[in-house]
């Protein structure tokens, strides 16, 4: 008996070209339309789409070492993301700081998504298709390749915190065998708790063939006062651009300031010169200590260059001191932010709160990952809250509306839970609806 599928395939070919011959193929005694009807039904009921030759089933998404987000908070989280008032990773970071993991049905990161909390390393690995079983095996030079990439760097940071000698030994053994970007990442695991004992790990990489690795090593060594030699030619030109002088009519304090320049070419030269110097060499040339340069810098021209200089070559103490001055002057922190710990940035940002006005833009500059821990007492200082609440009583244009959304979102992520509840009361009394989208992050805060 002829295979019916083969007959049907032949009939289909005839229909395709318009060359169907009556009386041939399956059901030859029927008219053409009846054969069409039966063919269609046969294909639907007796056959199914051919299974794919090969299918891959992904491993299950790993659970994270955090509590699952409470069910009641999930719609608030989704609404907060949908409002798009802050980047998703900032909200995710806030949720992680409260000890909760996002439900992957509500959000998963894109591959290579920047700004994701380290605790999400297993999800990064899952997205990349790297899900080697970790189990209880220790992270060593021998087991390094067994661990999924993102997870192993996260584990290395934890190892550096708990057993720094083991971490250093591991880095010295494995880093030289890695490609430049992985080498940089591995060395970067020292950053969070870098100290004098880690110098010996970094020094061998000071002349690494990768300029990014070299730059990283230089910056970290500067944290502990280990700076390299300065080009004498650059130092010789310094007085053309930076000077000390007396300022103030009454106090006549000594300040360090940039000379007034006339052309863009001169300004560029100044930047090039300072990029070749260190804070210590500048201080020596001016006859001052680095501490004195930091505390006497006159914020005006060349501030950006000076910020870069301190960020690249200052110790942690210098960087912290200069950052506080930058904040009080409302200048842009630039590369200083990368040199500061999360806690220091938080302290500096909170110090600005009473004077920052209701937009809180200066505070937001410094606290780029709010962690929901600021109590009401700190938020209540100054007139910012009162002014912010007052915005609900007036008509606002698009620009003010955008600033209001940003300020409320920031507060929503900054406040601790009790403060968030108190803020909701304040704003609803001021006229906002509790379900106002602008308060979505505050509401999420109260639910976590």
């Amino acid at each position: 008996m002829t295979d019916p599928m083969a007959q049907i395939e032949a009939l289909k070919t005839q229909w395709m070209t318009g060359s169907a011959t009556p009386g041939t193929g399956p059901w030859p005694h029927l008219d053409e339309l009846s054969r069409l009807a039966l063919t269609g039904q046969y294909l639907r009921i007796a056959t199914r789409p051919a299974s794919a030759a090969k299918v891959t089933i992904a491993p299950e998404i790993p659970t994270l070492p955090l509590n699952p987000m409470p069910v009641a908070a999930r719609p608030l989280f989704r609404r907060a993301l949908a409002a798009k008032l802050v980047p998703a990773t900032v909200v995710v970071g806030f949720v992680a700081a409260r000890g909760f993991a996002v439900n992957p049905l509500d959000w998963t990161p894109a591959r290579n998504e920047a700004g994701l909390p380290d605790v999400y390393a297993p999800w990064r690995d899952w997205l990349d298709g790297n899900t080697g079983a970790i189990g209880d095996a220790p992270l060593t030079a021998e087991t390094w390749d067994d661990f999924p990439p993102h997870s192993r760097y996260h584990l290395l940071e934890t190892l550096h915190a708990n057993r720094p000698e083991d971490a250093r030994a591991l880095i010295l053994q494995v880093a030289p065998t890695l490609a430049a970007d992985q080498r940089l990442r591995m060395l970067g695991c020292l950053r969070a708790r870098f100290g004098p004992e880690d110098v010996a790990v970094l020094e061998p990489f000071a002349t690494d063939r990768s300029s990014k690795v070299q730059s990283f090593v230089r910056t970290q060594l500067a944290r502990v006062g280990r700076v390299g030699e300065t080009a004498p030619e650059a130092l010789a030109e310094l007085p053309d651009f930076i000077e000390t002088m007396r300022a103030g009519i009454l106090s006549r304090k000594q300040v360090v300031s940039a000379r007034k320049l006339k052309t863009q070419a001169q300004r560029k030269r100044r930047g090039d010169i300072l990029a070749q110097l260190t804070l210590k060499s500048v201080a020596d040339q001016l006859g001052l200590s680095p501490d004195q340069v930091v505390e006497r810098w006159d914020f005006g021209d060349a501030t950006e260059d000076m910020i870069s200089l301190v960020a690249a070559t200052g110790t942690d103490d210098h960087v912290r001191a200069f950052a506080r001055r930058v904040a009080s002057q409302k200048a842009q922190p630039g590369p200083l932010l990368d040199r500061l710990s999360h806690e220091t940035r938080r302290d500096i940002g909170l110090g600005l709160l009473p004077f920052d006005g209701w937009i809180l833009d200066q505070t937001q500059l410094w606290i780029t990952q709010p962690d929901g821990t600021v109590p009401m007492a700190m938020l209540q200082e100054g007139s910012s809250l009162r002014d912010l609440a007052g915005q609900f009583r007036i008509e606002t244009g698009p620009a003010e509306e955008r600033m209001l959304e940003r300020a409320l979102s920031f507060l929503g992520l900054l406040a601790d839970r009790e403060a968030a509840i108190a803020l909701m009361d304040i704003f609803t009394e001021a006229g906002a609806l509790a379900v106002d989208n602008r308060l979505s992050l505050l509401r999420l805060n109260t639910a976590l």
Binding site: M16, T17, A20, I45, V71, N103, W126, R393, G431
Partner: protein, 460 residues
């Protein structure tokens, strides 16, 4: 009191709106009436003439309203009726926390505590609730007029049947022509040729069939190239079956529905023989589709969580595109107790909601069997012209083929079905413990699923 009759009169755009609202002042039309006095909002669901209810919200502080009906009047008759109901019978409203769909609207509104603008009384037309309530007297009809009307109705029905039979003849002739000239030519000009024959169907009083033919190009061209011939043959074969079914049984309700138009909601409710199933239902998913015939179709798929009656039901409405964007009538995953009244047919699926009650508890999904396509095959056998069938699948995973196409794969092995759309990446890393989906013979369209991470809805 959040709102008064006086304010309702002022809010009405015109007397005609008040008259229209007065016709909605029956409690049976409002399966849900709720209020939040602290927030000064009232909201409700109103059962209109369609299968899906309208969702209505009124902010009593400024009488702004939102309704999912297609009316361009603000406030529409539903919002007016809601305000009117609250003004007259506030005790009928349940004090409640606003659900998500109310919160979303409220959250988007940017309000100040400035006093609302005075209602505009419009162009001097007097508006009166009292006059709106006055029923128009029915004019008595004499026997001769009744007889004339009946005869005219019979003639219209006969003319319609003649027109439809003519349209079926033309359809079959058209299909024969396509076979004769080659389906490759048809595939090369599918939208244009389908548009032409669809228009002929509409002219021949076969409006539903015309709309269906208009959707064929999108359905076929969505398939990969190597599957399009089979897809086209499947579509054409169903048209032939439907045309011949009509000739054999022109009065069969499910055939008429597929060719001309569906019965009205009232007709279905008044049919004493219609299948009525009282059960717990869950909204498995919604699909809102823009069609080529300038209509938007709104499908709400309900799953029967108990064992009596059909496993699935479909609430189906269409709206002109000009009426604007549609909103979901329900939240996916919402459960309620309801009596569903099914449109008559061989394999009941399309239904309307009779009575409905909100419920506080949650009932789990039913047990699945290992032959999930058996129900789809039974539905296809009963209605061989049907295009899709709902299915409840057992545990499975979403797998990716080596050509990056998604497949649903049964955990026990054996059954593999291609999925129509690329799912969210997270879904590939989850066990789908149970899945509600639609199967069209070639592709699975996932509506919702239970996973270890919770319930997933793919129509969000």
């Amino acid at each position: 009191m959040l709102i008064s009759l006086d304010l309702v009169e002022k809010a009405a755009p015109d007397q005609a709106s008040l008259k229209a609202a007065s016709k909605l002042m029956k409690s049976s039309k409002w399966p849900l009436l709720a209020v939040s006095e602290p927030l000064k909002h009232i909201w409700a669901e109103c059962q209109g003439s369609g299968a899906n209810p309208y969702r209505v919200i009124v902010d009593c502080s400024d009488r702004k309203s939102k309704c999912t009906c297609p009316s361009r009047k603000f406030p529409c008759k539903h919002a007016l009726a809601l305000m009117w109901l609250y003004a007259e019978t506030p005790e009928a409203f349940t004090q409640a926390e606003p659900p998500d769909w109310v919160n979303e609207w409220m959250g988007r509104r940017k309000k100040t505590t400035a006093a609302p603008a005075a209602d505009d009384d419009g162009p001097k037309e007097a508006k009166s609730i009292v006059m709106a309530k006055v029923a128009e007297p029915e004019k008595p009809v004499d026997a001769a007029t009744l007889a004339r009307r009946e005869a005219a109705a019979k003639k219209r029905a006969a003319d319609t049947q003649t027109a439809i039979l003519g349209a079926m003849d033309d359809l079959e002739t058209w299909i024969e022509d396509q076979l004769r000239t080659g389906l490759s030519a048809l595939l090369g000009d599918l939208p244009g040729r389908c548009r032409a024959i669809a228009a002929r169907m509409v002219d021949g009083k076969a409006g539903s069939l015309g709309g269906r033919i208009d959707q064929i190009p999108a359905a076929v061209m969505a398939l990969p190239g190597e599957e399009r011939l089979d897809g086209l043959i499947s579509q054409l074969s169903k048209l032939v079956i439907l045309a011949r079914a009509y000739r054999a049984a022109p009065d069969a309700p499910d055939i008429r529905r597929a060719i001309t138009s569906a019965e009205s909601r009232d007709t279905v409710l008044e049919d004493k023989d219609a299948l009525r199933i009282n059960s717990r239902w869950e909204v498995a998913g919604e699909r809102i589709t823009t069609r080529r015939d300038d209509l938007i179709s709104q499908e709400t798929w309900l799953m029967n969580l108990r064992d009596q009656g059909p496993r699935f039901a479909l609430l189906f409405d269409t709206f002109p595109i000009a009426m604007g964007k549609r909103s979901n009538a329900f939240a996916s995953g919402e459960q309620f107790d309801a009596e569903l009244v099914f449109y008559p047919g061989r394999s009941p699926l399309r239904a309307i909601i009779g009575d409905r009650q909100v419920c506080a508890d949650e009932v789990p999904w039913p047990v699945t069997d290992l032959t999930p396509l058996a129900d789809a095959a039974r539905h296809e056998t009963a209605l061989p012209w049907s295009e899709i069938a709902p299915v409840l699948l057992p545990a499975g995973r979403i797998a990716m083929s080596n050509t990056d196409k998604p497949w649903w794969v049964a955990e026990t092995g054996g059954l593999m079905l291609p999925v129509d759309l690329m799912p969210p990446v997270a879904l590939t890393g989850m066990v789908l413990q149970k899945t509600a989906a639609l199967w069209d013979g070639a592709r699975l369209s996932i509506l919702s699923a239970h996973t270890p991470w919770g319930r997933l809805a793919l129509d969000d």
